[in-house]
Symmetry: C2
Subunit: 117 residues, 2 copies
């Protein structure tokens, strides 16, 4: 059911209306249009935006997030969301692992940044 206006989703997700339009333009959320050309979102939109904001904090771009969400079917089931969650977490952990690995290598090489042998 697509019943929520831009302002409704903005209020529900804690971002500005302009950001809601931005996320729609970039495929993070989708909308239908009223006869008068206004956007109408379903309940999932605010949730997707909140997920997107947290995902951005771990280094994912809006494009990457939209691509991950693009895997969701029209009427996602809990299992579908579980898969999205797993993908997001795997990506975050992979990046953190790369950071740890790099820092660890750096230190175990006994060749730290500023140590000029």
């Amino acid at each position: 059911m697509f019943t929520l206006s831009v302002g409704d989703v903005a209020a529900a997700s804690g971002v500005a209306s302009s950001a809601v339009r931005f996320y729609e333009q970039h495929g993070v959320i989708t909308a239908v249009r009223t006869a008068g050309d206004q956007r109408r979102f379903d309940e999932g939109a605010a949730c997707r935006i909140r997920v997107a904001k947290v995902a951005q904090r771990v280094g994912l771009t809006v494009r990457e997030i939209a691509e991950i969400f693009a895997g969701l079917p029209d009427d996602p089931q809990p299992a579908d969301w579980g898969q999205v969650a797993d993908t997001l977490i795997a990506e975050a952990e992979s990046r953190t692992a790369a950071l740890k690995s790099y820092l660890n290598d750096m230190q175990s090489a006994g060749r730290l940044c500023e140590i000029d042998l």
Copy 2:
């Protein structure tokens, strides 16, 4: 010893010369100047840039990275770098934990994004 030119650091760190200047402007690395006003970096500069690139991937901004590096003394010892590494990893893990927590709450609430009760 500040002996490396912009090009040297660019080659050693795998970024463009313009990026090396950018990172210096933003405090990720520091330089001294020759009599002819050219930048000279120490060996640590390339390493800092490589760390910065990996840290950017986990969502840290250049400003945040520069602030973390700002805690380093003039001649950092391994322990100083260990502290920087710990700070970076803690930040990455904190953000990943926030992501996991949000996704987990979402699912355990039985109220997934698209499930419109």
